[in-house]
Symmetry: C2
Subunit: 358 residues, 2 copies
């Protein structure tokens, strides 16, 4: 298979973690006889420094012409601490999401025995946790009409959803459930909100098209409890933008490390794959960042290409590294390996594993 | 001090847990030389059965004439399972909240060493957790204008806040912080929502009136993480209605048992005190329900009367019972005590403790 990938290193630790993903992707390509080519594009503080623009036109074009986008991280303190800055790194990502109409943010949540000591939850809660959150990303109250009275006596935000917006992400979530344990949980507040009642109605209407998927419904306040009490009950969680923001961040802490968590954003055009962690500028250039979130994002990209076996091999490599103590400083501050070493070890695993299998 | 208390037993386990609170209040009255009188009022399924109305006029009147309301729980399965039911028990509570303009819901969250085994969080996370959430209860998106298109192509909910609504609960929260560890955390989403920016503005304007209180701000998605990762950082948490619904339910699970958690709802007229647990109809009449949530609600009522020493004695009684294994079946299914025994033991503690002190 030939695939063309737009690579956006971005800021901070973005370049170093992304480099390890490319290395792993190259190992996959070599072992499975695929050809992956890469176009490097600028975005964020890096792009501002080089072009004055956080999202140059060539980046949008490069992304639209690619089969997928691998993205590192965005943000730099020199912009955060300057309230007068007219251009900000984050604008690049927001504009790119808009250009690509990335309406679904997909976040898998899994736990690893090797990270139990880092999780705030007890081991009992962490067993067999393996779910994925489908968060609507372009609608709802974050994008609805905003008003504030001139005298600041009142302010409002409107939460709007159209049937079309709900349908398109619901189909993605149902299809994902079919590939997984065949359970979909809609998180809403349908006992109170009209927009939530529309979500529930649309999901109920679509459900018969996916008759092998069991659908259930959970109010968002209850979901916030269940994610801590019994996270293994979930398979695919579908929800609107703001609820997804809250519960996906809540869910991200249960694995014990943000450094491991991948994500995908899918829309009308090219899909984008990125670790959920930020640019972590303090660690930049030190070869100590955890490349696992990026490498698992690359695995999600392989799944997106339909290369499920390849994705599984990458995930097996990550599991193998974790289980054998090949981890970065954030996981084990005493016996740790460098970013590049982890990338090399997982690439080697891919080569060896596939060579042994064949 | 003479105080007149309206008691609403309500449904399910409501009567039995409330009876233990009254017993403890009577012990306090006797030991400290107060006079507490009680008017019993009907609400919920109990009121429907007896009068056809989930909130009879006499109940509203009784509550308005009282110094405080002690409430048990509401809800009965015979109404839950009957979608044709025109009157529902829960309507009683919603109407009462409205009649009393209860705009602030107050929920303390603390952890107990004796319950560590029941918490989903590790012991490390549970140490020194002691905070209280002030949730706005009558504004925001739950009460804003709701619309749905006739063809169900679109639906919306409006989140509105006025400065006045924000100010009145903020003053309560600041005053609470002054009585505690002098820290107030506003949870909002001011990076995205106009209504949140108004919350932040109003809180910043009020802050100088409480110069001994340190104020900080947390986005709600981050708050959902911090409640699990590091709950001891919080003292008073102030937030709008929906964020409060989500984070107070999330926070309620960290102690290990919903049966222990009290709450208060405060407004323009009489304040209401109730355990956060529901009517738990399966346990009704068996003398096995946990009365601690109700007893700690009675302690909040004593604080509300300005009887802080008395409230402390009640809390000390609850701590003593927990620490000595005097717990109900929900906490220890093997060696457990009856609801009425716990109430009796805590009353005895009040008598003995105060007698020893004097
Ligand atoms: Mg977030
Ligand atoms: Mg709730």
């Amino acid at each position: 298979m030939n695939k063309h990938i737009a690579v956006i290193n971005g800021d901070g630790i973005g370049p170093e973690v992304t480099a390890q993903s490319v290395r792993v992707l190259n190992a996959i390509a070599e072992q499975f006889g695929h050809e992956f080519t890469y176009t490097y594009c600028l975005m964020g503080a890096d792009a501002i420094d080089k072009t004055g623009n956080p999202l140059p036109d060539e980046t949008v074009e490069g992304c639209l012409n690619a089969d997928a986008i691998l993205f590192g991280a965005i943000g730099h303190p020199k912009y955060d601490n300057d309230p007068t800055a007219k251009v900000r790194p984050e604008q690049g990502l927001l504009k790119l999401r808009k250009s690509l109409q990335l309406f679904a943010n997909i976040r898998p949540v899994s736990t690893y025995a090797a990270l139990e000591h880092l999780s705030p939850l007890k081991a009992k809660q962490l067993e067999n946790v393996d779910f994925v959150i489908y968060r609507e990303l372009t609608g709802g109250i974050y994008f609805g009409e905003k008003k504030v009275a001139e005298d600041y006596s009142e302010a409002s935000d409107l939460c709007v959803y159209t049937k079309t917006e709900i349908e398109r992400i619901s189909h993605l979530a149902f299809k994902a459930a079919q590939q997984r344990r065949k359970k979909l949980t809609l998180v809403d507040k349908a006992n109170v909100l009209e927009s939530s009642r529309l979500w529930r109605k649309v999901v109920q209407e679509i459900a018969p098209q996916y008759s092998d998927v069991v659908v259930d419904f959970l109010f968002v306040d209850n979901a916030a409890m269940q994610i801590i009490l019994n996270p293994k009950q979930f398979d695919v969680v579908l929800t609107e933008n703001m609820f997804g923001d809250i519960i996906s961040d809540e869910a991200s802490v249960i694995s014990g490390s943000l450094g491991l968590l991948p994500s995908a954003s899918v829309g009308a055009a090219t899909a984008l794959f990125e670790p959920i962690h930020g640019s972590y500028p303090q660690a930049a250039g030190k070869d100590i960042a955890n490349p696992t979130g990026s490498i698992l994002s690359a695995a999600m990209m392989l799944d997106h290409f339909g290369l499920h076996k390849e994705a599984e091999v990458v995930r097996a490599g990550v599991n193998w590294a974790l289980a054998n103590g090949f981890v970065t400083k954030d996981i084990d501050p005493v016996n740790y390996y460098f970013t590049s070493t982890i990338g090399e070890l997982i690439s080697d695993f891919v080569h060896n594993r596939v060579a042994t299998d064949v």
